[in-house]
C-alpha cells in the first residue's frame, strides 16, 4: 500500500481572513512585531518608551498564534 504524505500542519480557521497553520501564525506574528516596533519608534517613542511596543506586540502575537 502506498505511503500517504503527511500534512505539514493542522489548518485552522480563526479571525484571520485565511486558513493558517502554526507556522503561518508565527510568521504573521513576527511581521506584526517588527511593524509595531518600527511604527512606535517613528511616531510614539517621544511620548512612550519602546518596551511598551514590545509588550503590545507580544500580546498581539500571542492572540494571532492562539486565535488567528
Amino acid at each position: 500500500m502506498a505511503e500517504q504524505p503527511k500534512q505539514s500542519g493542522v489548518k485552522k480557521t480563526g479571525f484571520l481572513p485565511i486558513h493558517t497553520n502554526a507556522f503561518d501564525r508565527v510568521f504573521i506574528g513576527t511581521i506584526v512585531f517588527v511593524a509595531v516596533h518600527l511604527f512606535w519608534m517613528r511616531f510614539l517613542e517621544v511620548h512612550l518608551p519602546l518596551f511598551l511596543a514590545t509588550i503590545l506586540s507580544v500580546v498581539i502575537g500571542w492572540i494571532i498564534v492562539a486565535r488567528g
Partner: protein, 293 residues
C-alpha cells in the same frame, strides 16, 4: 524508516547549500544590523548598538524617499511587464510569418547581463552622443536630458526594466497558455461568451498561478534593482532614481557603514516579504475566494 533516511540523504546537499548560502548570511546581517560598525569611525570595530540603527532608519528622509521611488518603480515596471508579456504570449500562440525569428529576437534581452543593459541604454540616451535624444528633439521637439530631468530619468529606468524583463514574463505566460486545456474555451464559446468574458472568467482564473509566480519573481527583482540603474543614471539626477538597492550600496561601500547598511537591507527584505505575502493573501489564500480559483 530506511526510505526516510534515504530521503534526508538525498535532500542533504540542498539543505547544506541552503544553510551556508541562505541562512548563515541572513543571520550574520541580522546580527550586524544591531551593531555600530563603520570602518571610518574613531572606533572602527563592531560593537553592540541596540536598536539605534532601526531608530535612525525610520527618521532617515533619504531612505524613505528611496523606498517610495522604489515602490513606484516596481509597480509601474511589473504592471507594464505583465500586461505587455501577456499580449505578446497571446500573439505567440498564433501562427504568423517569421514567428521563430521574432521569438528569438524577443528573448535576446534576457541573455544580456544587467550591467551591459545599463551600458547599452546609457549609450543610447546620453545627450550629444546617443540617437534617442537626437531623434526625440528632431522629430518631436522633446528636450530629452537624462541628467537634468528627474521624470525622464525615472521613466527611462522603468522602460529599460520593461525592455529587459518582459521576455521572461512572455515565456512564462506562453508556457502556461500552452498547457491550458481547450475544453473550457470551447464550452464558453458554445455558451455564447464574448472574448472579454472568456478572458475574464476562463483564461484569467486558469492563468492565475502562473501570473502570480511571475509577479512575485519580477517584484522581488524590481525591488532590488541596482546595476542597470547604476550604469544608466548613477541614481540621479539628484536622488530621482536612487532606488533602495543603490542607497544601501552607497551606505555600505563608499561610506563603509556596515551596521546601518545591514539594518536597511533587513528593512528592504522585510518590505519585500510583506508585499509578496499580502499579494498572495489578496489573490489566492483568502477564505471568501471560491475554491479552485
Amino acid at each position: 524508516m530506511r526510505s526516510q533516511s534515504i530521503g534526508w540523504l538525498l535532500l542533504a546537499p540542498t539543505l547544506i547549500i541552503l544553510v551556508i548560502f541562505g541562512l548563515v548570511p541572513f543571520f550574520y546581517v541580522l546580527v550586524v544590523g544591531f551593531t555600530e560598525w563603520n570602518a571610518f569611525a574613531a572606533n572602527p570595530g563592531a560593537h553592540f548598538y541596540g536598536v539605534e540603527n532601526y531608530r535612525h532608519l525610520v527618521f532617515d528622509e533619504q531612505l524613505l524617499y528611496s523606498l517610495w521611488i522604489t515602490l513606484r518603480f516596481a509597480f509601474f515596471a511589473v504592471l507594464s511587464e505583465i500586461i505587455l508579456g501577456y499580449f505578446l504570449a497571446q500573439l505567440m500562440m498564433k501562427d504568423f510569418p517569421l514567428k521563430g525569428f521574432f521569438r528569438t529576437i524577443h528573448t535576446l534581452p534576457l541573455m544580456v547581463a544587467p550591467i551591459a543593459v545599463g551600458a547599452t541604454w546609457r549609450l543610447l540616451t546620453v545627450p550629444g552622443l546617443g540617437p534617442v535624444p537626437y531623434y526625440l528633439d528632431r522629430w518631436f521637439g522633446i528636450d530629452y536630458r537624462l541628467g537634468s530631468f528627474a521624470d525622464q530619468a525615472f521613466w527611462t529606468t522603468v522602460l529599460m526594466d520593461v525592455w529587459h524583463w518582459t521576455p521572461l514574463v512572455t515565456l512564462t505566460l506562453l508556457a502556461a497558455l500552452s498547457s491550458l486545456p481547450k475544453e473550457p474555451f470551447e464550452q464558453a464559446q458554445i455558451d455564447g461568451a464574448n472574448r472579454f468574458q472568456i478572458f475574464r472568467h476562463v483564461t484569467l482564473p486558469m492563468l492565475k498561478p502562473a501570473i502570480l509566480a511571475t509577479v512575485f519573481i519580477r517584484m522581488m527583482d524590481a525591488l532590488r534593482t541596482v546595476d542597470e540603474v547604476w550604469m544608466l543614471t548613477g541614481g540621479g539626477p539628484a536622488a530621482a532614481t536612487r532606488y533602495i538597492g543603490l542607497y544601501i550600496w552607497r551606505v555600505v561601500f563608499p561610506k563603509t557603514d556596515y551596521g546601518y547598511g545591514s539594518a536597511m537591507s533587513l528593512l528592504a527584505l522585510y518590505l519585500t516579504i510583506v508585499m509578496c505575502w499580502l499579494l498572495y493573501v489578496a489573490l489566492v489564500a483568502r477564505r471568501d475566494l471560491p475554491k479552485g480559483d
